[in-house]
C-alpha cells in the first residue's frame, strides 16, 4: 500500500472522526441555518491540536507534516465543510505565513496562540478588483519613517477567519513601492483591533455558512514597521508558495466531501424504496454510487501523493495543482449526483448532501480557481500558455 498512514496518523483520524461525529455533526445543520461561527467548537479543535499540526513543538505545534493535516481536514469535511475550512485557513493561511516567513520574534509572539487554537489568523490577499490577478493589488502601505510605522490604505475581500471573536491577526499584501516600473508587493501583519482596520459585516454566501468571511477596509491604519513579514517586495512570491501548500489541504477537504457523498449514497440506495424495491437495485443509481467510489479513490491518490512529496521536501507544485483541480471538481460532481440520488430530500437544506452541494462550489474557486490550476499545470508541462 503506497498511501498507508502511520499508526499515529490513523489514531488521529479516529479521534477527529469521533470528535466530528459527537461535537460537530449534531449541530452543523443549525450552525448552517443560523450562520453561527461556533467559537467553542473551534477552541475544542484547538485543544485536539489541529491548528498546530504541521508546526514545530517549540511554537506549540504538533511537529507533524502536511499529510497529517490532510487526514484531519479530510475527516472534518466528511461532516462539515465550514469547520474543515476554518482549520484549513487557520493553519494554511493564518499560521503558515508567520511560520514560513516570520522572524523568530514574530513566530514567538503570534504562533503559540495560533497553534493552540486560542487565536485565529487570516490572510488578506484577494481584493474587490484583484482575485486570480493578485498582481493587481491596490492596497498600499507607506512607511512613515519618522514614526516607524506602516500606513495602510485599501480593501480586501472574501477573507476567511478575519472577523471571529478570536481572530488575532490578518496578514495582508500591499503595494509598498515600485521596482523596475512594476508594483512591489509586501506582506504586513495587522493585529485585530488596530485603529483604521475595519471588519465589514459578513457576506451572504451560497454555502460555508458557519465559516467566518468578511471584507476588510484599511483607512490610514498604522502598524509598527517591524510588522513587515518576510522581505519587502517579496510578498508576491511568498503568497504563491503559501498557496501551493494550501491547495493540497483544500484538495483533502474535497476528498472528505466525496467520501461523505459515497457513504451517504451507499446507505440511502439500500434504504430508499421506490417501485417496491431499494433504489440501489437500479443501475442508474448503483452506477452513480460506483462512480463516487472511483472519484474518492482518484482524489485520495492525488491528495496524498502531493502531500507526501511536500513532506519529503520534493517539488510538488504541479501535483498540488492537479490534486486541487481534480478533487474539487469531483466534489462538485459528487455532491450534485448525491443530491440527485436523494431526490426531493436532496433539495432540502437539512439533508447533509444538500449542504455539501451548496458548500462545494467554492472549492473550485477559493485558493486558486480551477482555471488557475490548469494554468499552473500547463506551465509546469512547459506549454507557452499566457
Amino acid at each position: 500500500m503506497e498511501f498507508e498512514l502511520t499508526d499515529e496518523q490513523e489514531a488521529l483520524r479516529k479521534v477527529v472522526r469521533d470528535f466530528a461525529q459527537a461535537e460537530i455533526a449534531p449541530y452543523a445543520e443549525a450552525w448552517d441555518r443560523d450562520h453561527i461561527f461556533p467559537v467553542d467548537t473551534v477552541r475544542k479543535m484547538g485543544e485536539l491540536g489541529l491548528f498546530g499540526l504541521p508546526f514545530p513543538e517549540e511554537y506549540g505545534g504538533g511537529g507533524a507534516g502536511l499529510t497529517t493535516l490532510c487526514v484531519a481536514i479530510e475527516e472534518l469535511a466528511r461532516v462539515d465543510q465550514s469547520m474543515a475550512i476554518t482549520v484549513e485557513a487557520g493553519v494554511g493561511l493564518g499560521a503558515n505565513p508567520i511560520y514560513t516567513f516570520g522572524r523568530e520574534d514574530q513566530r514567538q509572539r503570534w504562533l503559540p496562540d495560533l497553534c493552540a487554537g486560542r487565536a485565529l489568523g487570516a490572510f488578506g490577499l484577494t481584493e474587490p478588483d484583484a482575485g486570480s490577478d493578485a498582481g493587481a493589488t491596490r492596497t498600499r502601505a507607506e512607511l512613515d519613517t519618522s514614526a516607524g510605522e506602516w500606513i495602510i490604505n485599501g480593501e480586501k475581500a472574501f477573507i476567511t477567519n478575519s472577523g471571529t471573536p478570536i481572530t488575532s491577526i490578518v496578514t495582508i499584501t500591499a503595494v509598498t513601492g515600485t521596482s523596475g516600473g512594476r508594483p512591489e508587493i509586501s506582506a504586513i501583519v495587522v493585529p485585530a483591533g488596530t485603529p483604521g482596520f475595519e471588519v465589514q459585516p459578513p457576506y451572504r454566501k451560497m454555502g460555508w455558512h458557519a465559516s467566518d468571511t468578511h471584507g476588510l477596509t484599511f483607512t490610514d491604519c498604522r502598524v509598527p514597521a517591524d510588522h513587515l513579514l518576510g522581505e519587502q517586495g517579496r510578498g508576491f512570491a511568498q503568497f504563491l508558495a503559501i498557496l501551493d501548500e494550501g491547495r493540497i489541504a483544500i484538495a483533502a477537504l474535497a476528498l472528505g466531501v466525496i467520501e461523505c457523498c459515497l457513504a451517504e449514497c451507499q446507505r440511502y440506495a439500500k434504504e430508499r424504496i421506490a417501485f417496491g424495491r431499494a433504489i440501489g437495485t437500479n443501475q442508474a443509481v448503483a452506477f452513480k454510487v460506483a462512480d463516487l467510489a472511483v472519484m474518492a479513490a482518484c482524489a485520495r491518490s492525488l491528495v496524498y501523493q502531493a502531500a507526501r512529496l511536500r513532506d519529503a521536501g520534493r517539488p510538488f507544485k504541479k501535483e498540488a495543482a492537479m490534486a486541487k483541480l481534480y478533487a474539487t471538481e469531483a466534489a462538485v460532481t459528487a455532491t450534485r449526483e448525491a443530491t440527485q440520488i436523494f431526490g426531493g430530500y436532496g433539495f432540502i437544506d437539512e439533508t447533509l448532501v444538500a449542504r455539501q452541494y451548496r458548500d462545494s462550489k467554492i472549492l473550485e474557486i477559493g485558493e486558486g480557481t480551477s482555471e488557475i490550476q490548469r494554468l499552473v499545470i500547463s506551465r509546469e508541462l512547459g506549454l507557452p500558455v499566457t
Binding site: D7, A11, F19, G62
Partner: protein, 260 residues
C-alpha cells in the same frame, strides 16, 4: 494517588462483527479498539490523580495477539503506562478466568490506591468481573459509581440505583466500577497520541504471572456457551382506540412500568 484502570480492547462496534461458529464467541482477529465504556474509568482516574496532586494511572488489559491499539488510545488520553497480558492459552476465558488474570497483573502494580473498572464490557456484557476482581484481591467493592471523591484514604461514591443514588464510603484500596455518566471522557490530543508512542507497555504471558494454563482459557472456563440465537424480532405494540378512558389506560400502562 496511584490508580489502576482495567480496560478492555474490543472489535470496533462500527465495523460488522462476526461470531466464530465453532466456539460461539466473537471473532477478535481484527484490530481492536478501546471499549468506550472503559474510557469513563480512564478519564475518572486521570481527574482523581490530578485532584490528588499527582500519581500515576496504570492500565491493565487482557487481549489476544499482543493488541495495543486500544491501550494507545488510553495512554494518549494521559495514562502513564500499561500492563498487557496476551497468551494463546487465554482464548476462551470466562469472566472468572479473566478476573484471575487481571487480579494477578494488578498485584504487580506497587502502591495501587484505587482500582477502577467499567460496570460491564460492550462486547461480552457479563458485568461480573469487577466483583470477582475485588474478591480475588480481597478488597472492598463498590459498584455503579456515578460520582467519586477521594480524601484521607477514603473513597466516597454516589452509587447509581433505580430510584436515584446511594452515598457509599469505603477505605482504600478498593475496587470501584463506574457508569458511563461518571465523567465526560476527553479526546486524546495529537500531542497525547505522539506521547503515547513512547509510554511503556509491559507485555506479559500467564507464565509471567505464575498462572497455571489449566485455570484459564477454554481449560479453566466454568461456563460454556451452549448456543447463540438471533434476538427475537420486536413485537408490535398494543393499539387502543380512545373511548374516553385513554388517559386512565396511559396512567395504568406507566404505573405497570413503574415509571410513575
Amino acid at each position: 494517588m496511584n490508580i489502576v484502570v482495567c480496560v478492555k480492547q474490543i472489535p470496533d462496534p462500527a465495523e460488522p462483527g462476526s461470531l466464530d461458529p465453532g466456539t460461539k464467541t466473537l471473532k477478535r482477529a481484527t484490530k481492536l479498539i478501546l471499549d468506550e465504556s472503559d474510557s469513563y474509568g480512564v478519564e475518572m482516574a486521570l481527574q482523581l490523580a490530578d485532584a490528588a496532586g499527582g500519581g500515576e494511572v496504570t492500565l491493565v488489559s487482557m487481549a489476544p495477539n499482543n493488541e495495543v491499539s486500544g491501550l494507545r488510545t488510553a495512554l494518549a488520553m494521559g495514562a502513564a503506562k500499561a500492563i498487557l497480558i496476551s497468551d494463546p492459552a487465554l482464548a476462551g476465558s470466562d469472566a472468572l478466568g479473566t478476573a484471575k488474570v487481571l487480579a494477578a497483573a494488578i498485584k504487580r502494580v506497587e502502591g495501587a490506591d484505587l482500582i477502577l473498572t467499567a460496570t460491564e464490557s460492550s462486547d461480552g456484557y457479563t458485568g461480573t468481573v469487577p466483583e470477582q476482581l475485588a474478591e480475588l484481591l480481597d478488597l472492598p467493592s463498590v459498584t455503579f459509581a456515578k460520582h467519586i471523591e477521594v480524601s484521607d484514604g477514603v473513597v466516597k461514591v454516589q452509587r447509581q440505583t433505580e430510584a436515584g443514588y446511594d452515598d457509599v464510603e469505603c477505605p482504600l484500596p478498593a475496587v470501584v466500577s463506574v457508569t458511563a455518566g461518571v465523567v465526560e471522557p476527553r479526546y486524546p490530543s495529537f500531542k497525547g497520541i505522539m506521547a503515547a508512542k513512547s509510554k511503556p507497555v509491559d507485555q506479559l504471558t500467564i507464565a509471567d504471572l505464575g498462572i497455571d494454563p489449566s485455570q484459564v482459557g477454554w481449560a479453566g472456563a466454568g461456563q460454556e456457551i451452549v448456543s447463540v440465537e438471533q434476538a427475537p424480532a420486536r413485537e408490535s405494540g398494543e393499539i387502543f382506540e380512545d373511548d374516553g378512558t385513554g388517559a386512565e389506560k396511559i396512567v395504568a400502562f406507566l404505573e405497570n412500568l413503574k415509571v410513575i
